[in-house]
Symmetry: D2
């Protein structure tokens, strides 16, 4: 049993009221390991919905706020104020709350992508790096144990020099114009005012990029993108083809789609070097295929032989699957470690692998570059 200090950390939430998807995910992820307890929220921009959502979640009504500024003020003033806030609003409402909490020294755990626009992203990056408070971006796929395993293996040279990076993230849920049929998740994701300039490329393409960058340790230097909005009337891309060039000489491909009928969340990463190859799929996240050059493929499993380096990320034995929520919770567990270190005035743990505002800035830069590249007939754009 891993010793755990008596008191969970206190979490607040901005967004995540009724009908939201990712807010519920953050709440579960934050409590799986008992590290956080939700105590405050500005859960909706609609006061009625905010109140109802707070009640449904069992929050103290005094800590259910009508807006995030009021929440930041009040919580900063409390002796028992929140240790961190989770920002789980649509993209265009990331910057303002993040600034509000950072300015008051409250740690921020923010959903991705970082912001809806590149200007906002730069503003937030400057603010986050100037702040003493922590800023964590929940690129949750990098929390999966076998993704960490993959990163460790690449770093240890198991693949040799990386040559080819192939990431795909096909979904099919936006193959029809469901945003016009009352699907709230679809509505904001396909609305440039809320999502920014990227559709699929922002929503899931940034995940693909971050996953590849996290595992290989290198971001692409240039990209060439062909974005398409296939569904009639849709204003943002729902399919993205992107070619990647790395400064190291590696090449890559990203395919992100929301019109791939039959796909759910089939995020898949493949990396090939001169000494080996790796393959990982999000829908079976406990498995990592590894082929040393000239040898048979090995099937590595979370908690199984050869994955000792990531043992601390396993809650249960190999063959009892952990999933999306546990991967997400790994980020919250790391965040808790960082927050506790900060509270204690200790240095950050050296093995932290939390996505930062830099990852977020890279992601928004990538979206911006893809949109510009696509508008310029897939010209190469430097990141």
């Amino acid at each position: 049993m891993t010793p755990r200090p008596a008191a969970p950390l206190k979490l607040g939430m901005v967004g995540g009221g009724e009908g939201a998807f990712i807010g519920a995910v953050h709440r579960i992820a934050s409590r799986i390991d008992g590290e956080f307890t939700l105590v405050a929220g500005a859960l909706s921009s609609s006061p009625d919905r905010a109140r109802a959502s707070g009640a449904a979640l069992g929050l103290d009504p005094a800590r259910v706020y009508a807006d995030f500024t009021a929440m930041a003020d009040a919580e900063a003033a409390r002796d028992d104020g929140i240790d961190a806030v989770a920002i789980v609003t649509p993209n265009h409402v990331h910057l303002a709350p993040a600034l509000a909490f950072l300015e008051r020294g409250i740690n921020v755990i923010c959903d991705k992508p970082l912001t809806g626009t590149l200007d906002e992203a730069h503003t937030l990056a400057v603010a986050a790096e100037a702040s003493d408070a922590l800023f964590v971006l929940t690129h949750n796929y990098s929390g999966y144990a076998m993704v960490r395993q993959a990163r460790a293996m690449v770093a240890a040279g198991a693949l040799g020099t990386v040559r080819v990076v192939n990431v795909e993230y096909p979904q099919g849920w936006l193959a029809a114009p469901v945003e016009a049929e009352g699907n709230q998740q679809a509505a904001w994701r396909t609305d440039p005012a809320k999502s920014g300039a990227g559709g699929a490329i922002g929503d899931i393409g940034t995940h693909a990029l971050q996953l590849a960058t996290f595992v290989t340790g290198e971001a692409p230097a240039r990209i060439a993108a062909d974005l398409t909005a296939f569904v009639p009337g849709r204003r943002l891309d729902d399919n993205a083809h992107v070619m990647l060039r790395y400064a190291s000489g590696a090449k890559g491909l990203i395919w992100a789609s929301q019109v791939a009928v039959g796909c759910e969340n089939a995020l898949r990463l493949r990396v090939y070097g001169d000494a080996g190859g790796l393959e990982w799929c999000q829908e079976t996240p406990d498995v990592l295929l590894f082929t040393p050059h000239g040898e048979p493929t090995r099937r590595l499993t979370r908690g199984g032989p050869g994955t000792e380096a990531t043992a601390s990320l396993s809650r249960i034995p190999a063959g009892h699957p952990e999933g999306y929520l546990e991967g997400f919770a790994n980020l919250y567990r790391d965040a808790a470690r960082a927050i506790r270190a900060r509270k204690a005035g200790e240095p950050m743990p050296e093995d932290l692998l939390l996505p930062t505002v830099r990852d977020g800035l890279l992601g928004v830069t990538f979206v911006d570059a893809c949109v510009r590249s696509s508008a310029a007939d897939a010209a190469w754009i430097a990141l």
Copy 2:
């Protein structure tokens, strides 16, 4: 957002101290949906370990008990006493604490198998059914959404008349005598004094039986078993072959093994009727294969098309995998619904599918029958 009453239920735990596996699982499962909060425990029979474990879990020292009787007494006497106790000790320490809490009217959530011996199982069954308190047995695999989906489909006639039931549960972790090398999980599981007369047949064979019974709605009438202890020096079976006959005329096979090198927790259920077939594997629990007779196989996924009946068991969209802990948490969520109904003096929810002491009695009866059958050269024994 599903409305949730403000206060989580208060949970106590017997067993589950340092080094335990299943206790940690219960703790996570109980808090994933915010339904329970752990407030008390008799976590170890060693007072020092009990104390240390309680501290590590952040329990109020006043509610960290040296033994379960003291805990039952004290918690029953408190106004804010626990709403339920989770019993997560080895099999031979299920009966006594269960009786202690049931007698005091405290709801019991007990790990499987029900008890180490058939006599104990009968005693507990009588007590549980005589008590007003709830008794839940955590045959967690029946909590998986797609297992519930399978059950619903069989009940709705999608398979027609069931003919063949095939369940296998191969593991490889006991292929060597690790019980002699300090593996605590292995030590008690291979010790007749702690596990009872069944080894693999008790530890995982009972899961296989319960899964098949849960999905088909019918328990076997007779079994013929061939149990083997392959590892030198091992006193309990580590491999079990069991043939099943059902009153309906269906036939079945159970294979449970802990010496199947390369297998982790590869529990798999296949059911065939005259109108269709089903296949489900625990290691990819979000997928259910369904073949209507004469048509192509369909791949049903949790949250995907055709699984609307089990939508309430999904926390996240299709393609974002839920795993073992979420399946386990589904039992805790159902238990919470039942406990809240009892507290409110309301009738039990009609759609509850919680494993009961009857399932537990069936399981121990099955283990006993398999041991006797095997001793009698695989003679048929009625359940």
Copy 3:
């Protein structure tokens, strides 16, 4: 390029006329490697069909015979008579033609199971072993490269001492009474007069047994079987559950079914020893999973790294799948080597792994034992 003598061997065929399945398979398998050319046949017991079939196959009308005795006489008398005969009739018409050709010194390649009855099997075994001519039984699954690889690995000790053998062969094509609806393949297979006493156990259970025996090098000593005819009106079993005990102490299970809706030819073998485990599935025959104890699973592929021992069985590189016909052809290629050695008066090649009349006798003995065991409430019967 493997040198090949100029002239293909001359093949005759008994059975295999219009509407037959396995006859066409033998013809393709015999010519894939250019080792045989079909020159004669007694293709049907109906003279008209025999003639029409011979013409359709382009045979010289002088070598299209009305019955197998006439064929045996005539071919034995020709200078350019056949080098071997393929017997591809239903089970009850294996013995007589086999004897006719063996008596005339003509090599026999016979489909399985050996015969419809145990008496016939003994008669044929005596005759085959007394004859100078070769007798090959086409248990074709043992011709797959990765099955040979598995056998070689077990023999080399990669699994250590074998403990558990699990073979299953589920099919779904007889889930409805198609024998009553004009399906000719179903009709003879479900007719005791043509198939013998075994239904699924004879048709596919013998394959399962032979596969396990071939790979492990050991046949079971005793069996206990529960056979069922699920489809109303069916006279032979369409589902078989069999427990196995080996003299070495190993245990096993065979499940053979023709009512497993959704299964096609899902023959699967798993073998576990104290040092490793193996898994092979007929529907993806180029893949063999191998797990050394305590290490990750390896995915071995035909022609890939680590399969050098079976390189001669690969016609094309790894990743270009070979299938059923190539596996079958491996038997014909081996048969050709044996026949050429006999013609040349040379000793048999030492590495031949052809199934013999002994495998056939074992199979029919197994069917007989299963039928008797099942009739005796699954009593143990020695093989």
Copy 4:
């Protein structure tokens, strides 16, 4: 039994001597269905090797030729001359023999890509279309039954309007500079003088393109390519990233790689339309996944329910895998039908789906465009 005329067609071969890979494939594919018999060859440019290879194949020494011109002359002059010639030489030796045989009215079955250069391809296209003789290009993947099934489904509207086409063909066998270590297959494929300007893009990228075009019925209008030679000293690309734009508005991606360690021949096609999605993988060619929009994925299998349209391409029942050689043989079977129709002066069968010189010209045009695009920083090039 499908009636087959008495005499197989007579086949000659150019190339395919000792050490060749694809020659042996053509020989097997041509004889699997008994449609062709090899009677003549110019098997090597080395007279000694030609002679030895002819002897090893059992050819009449009088029909073993020192060069293809001599062979074309002699065979054209014989009454029993060959019905078709298979050209299986490296790319730079396709044009000359093809012209030699076409000019003499002899049908040509030519391996892909069509030629090494675009000029040669145009020359051959003109010649082939001017000739009465047939010209078949063995893009063998389009011979797989389930690829034909996919094409039929797309044509019938099962996907609606096609939006996204994703083809990948990763191999790993050229991850190291094996061309410098005596690997003959690698040597000519990485030599511009023999392969032409394309490496991976020519060898396997053309297969990917043809597969996508065959199934969707539409060729891309423009491409943008990024080709790389990763292995030090290699003169041709060993990895290709290509973005596709179709006149219809569809978009696509091709990834072809020979440095993807761990991949064998993992050709995979995915096509998505507004009404459904399809997925097919060459390494499990009997399976086609089909998802109608809003419904669960179906697993279609060769010979299984829902594939009646392609029944004539199945030799054996579903679940008994057919593989690469059978897919290749389907082309030879179609070629035989076409050749017999031509011989008989009958019109071509209406359902023929043989790749023609047009497919070949498209392929070489594609390679040329990719090379030019890559040289121009991945500029878009019209096909």
